[in-house]
């Protein structure tokens, strides 16, 4: 009944182009995917009354955030919490919010009955549920591992069991290769818990996206942006004098160049976490879209050429999806690793204590004159 509300109601040409671009990079079925999104888009306009979309596949609906979670047993609607003009409104579902009479829905947007727009929408969404699930799973496994270490397994003896071993391998990998590789060794222990927690949470959020009915929380820009924001804050908070010096007053550079360099450096402060945010988001989203698009080809072929072709060609699409699933498992862990690695690199860069002679003008002159280095 409310499906239409959640499918992007305002797909601007730019957004369509972006999705198409993602699909273009992700799969070879460019035209089909474009038509798929196009169909999904078109369905928004006339699907006001019909629950079932006229499109065989709904790419946007699969990747978008919802007010319900899909489970193998059907949809479970989530509570809505609105903050309007300094007042909280809570309902157990969207339907309840609308039937209560306090809120009305206009062109897919919910307003308060007096047509005041919602200030902050604090509703529990499907992506939030999977963020929580990622956190909870990371927590449960860590607490389980902690209880084992507390009992002495792993502390006085070698770790026992596959799960414990995998956990420790991941921890040691993050600590030794990722964190200590880029953050000065004496300062690394301060950042190990944060970065390892981030790694675990992102890895579980990514892996949850592999469940057919589940949503990939990290395929949501809000999630990745918030995670990158944490990295950004930690990076700036741990910035040394040298770090800030290099941003606002780059040593050993003529004054004129500083006028160009400083804005670039300040821009760099923000582009780094932004890249972090978009990398994770785009990677996870493209994987999701790829799977939906390729599986959707079965239905599109059925619609275009009849059931025989659709079912016959499904062998190809299903096997291709199986291969992509293997790739997605790898990408899920890889992207969690890359996020952690780049966070460590940024924090390590902010922590660096350079000796100033290195950037002295005379020193640089000597370097330039050196025929080997020049």
């Amino acid at each position: 009944m409310f499906r239409h509300v959640f499918v992007s109601q305002s797909l601007s040409p730019l957004k369509v182009a972006f999705v198409t671009l993602l699909v273009l990079f992700g799969s070879f079925g460019v035209g089909l995917s474009a038509s798929a999104t196009g169909v999904a888009n078109a369905s928004d306009a006339d699907a006001a009354e019909t629950e079932e979309s006229s499109s065989p596949i709904d790419v946007m609906g699969k990747i978008a955030d919802h007010d319900y979670i899909e489970s193998p047993f059907g949809k479970v609607y989530l509570p809505r919490i609105f903050w309007v003009d300094g007042q909280f409104y809570t309902y157990s579902s969207t339907k309840k919010a609308l039937t209560s009479g306090d809120f009305i829905e206009k062109e897919g947007v919910i307003y308060r009955a007096d047509e005041t727009p919602i200030t902050i929408d604090l509703s529990i969404t499907s992506h939030l549920v999977y963020v929580w699930l990622g956190f909870i799973l990371a927590l449960l496994i860590s607490l389980w591992a902690a209880s084992r270490y507390r009992r002495g397994i792993g502390r006085t003896s070698a770790p026992k069991g596959a799960l414990h071993n995998i956990y420790e391998i991941l921890y040691l990998f993050i600590r030794d290769d990722v964190i200590q590789g880029y953050i000065p060794k004496e300062k690394a222990p301060r950042y190990t818990p944060l970065l390892f927690s981030m790694f675990m949470a992102i890895a579980f959020m990514n892996l949850f996206g592999l469940l057919p009915w589940a949503a990939t929380a990290t395929a949501d820009l809000t999630v990745t942006a918030t995670l990158a924001f944490v990295t950004f804050i930690v990076t700036q908070a741990s910035g040394t004098k040298t770090y800030w010096g290099h941003i606002f007053n780059f040593p050993g550079v003529p004054l004129l160049v500083k006028f160009i360099l400083t804005p670039v450096e300040i821009l760099g402060l923000f582009t780094k976490p932004l890249a972090l945010c978009f990398r994770l988001f785009a990677n996870m989203l493209s994987g999701k879209i790829m799977i939906i698009s390729i599986l959707g080809l079965i239905f599109i072929f059925t619609e275009l050429f009849g059931a025989t072709v659709g079912i016959g060609s499904s062998v190809i699409w299903v096997s291709l999806t199986a291969v992509l699933y293997g790739l997605k498992v790898f990408v899920a862990l890889l992207q969690a690793y890359i996020f952690t690695l780049l966070s460590a690199v940024f924090i390590g860069g902010a922590l660096e204590e350079h000796h100033h002679e290195e950037h002295d003008v005379e020193h640089d002159d000597v370097k330039v004159m050196d025929p080997i280095n020049a």
Binding site: S8, D65, E105, V109, I118, A146, Y149, G154, A201, T226
Partner: protein, 172 residues
């Protein structure tokens, strides 16, 4: 504008403030529990194990080095003992040799002394005998002379007398 949308997250590239607030709160709670309860025992446990492994490795190496040193010391001691034993043996042999030589010397001296003493006493006895003999001869000569002087009848008698004396002498 974005946040006023029905569910802002539904459009692909939008940022949903309410959702972000939720994530931040959840992240802080998550990190809080991780920092407070989950990670310290893991970090400490692994560190402890690494340290204990490192320290046992160090201890093993130290023990090995000590054992090597001890065995070297033992060898040195054995060699020293052998050296001492050899020197003692040598000394003993030398002492024995010296002692034997000394004893031989002494024995020789004693033997020589004994021989000399014997010789001396033989000489003395000989002198004594000769003296006695001389005295006897003198006495006999005196007696014979006396007899000769007393009974000087003829030369035949004299010769007889002298012969008798000589006979007597040889009898003695």
């Amino acid at each position: 504008m974005m946040m006023s949308l029905f569910l802002a997250g539904s459009s692909l590239l939008s940022f949903n403030t309410g959702f972000a607030i939720w994530i931040l709160i959840s992240l802080i709670v998550f990190l809080g529990i991780m920092y407070k309860f989950a990670l310290p025992p893991i970090i400490k446990g692994i560190e402890e194990r690494e340290q204990s492994i490192q320290s046992s490795l160090d201890a093993a190496e130290k023990a090995l080095r000590e054992a090597e040193k001890i065995s070297k010391d033992n060898e040195e001691v054995v060699r020293e003992a052998e050296r001492t034993a050899q020197s003692i043996r040598k000394e003993a042999t030398k002492e024995v040799e010296e002692f034997r030589a000394e004893r031989m010397e002494k024995a020789k001296e004693e033997a020589e002394k004994l021989i000399e003493d014997a010789k001396k006493s033989i000489d003395q006895e000989k002198q004594k005998a000769l003296q006695e003999l001389r005295k006897e001869v003198t006495d006999l000569t005196i007696e014979a002379t006396t007899r000769l002087l007393q009974k000087n009848v003829d030369s035949e008698t004299n010769r007889k007398l002298i012969d008798e004396t000589i006979n007597d002498l040889s009898k003695n």
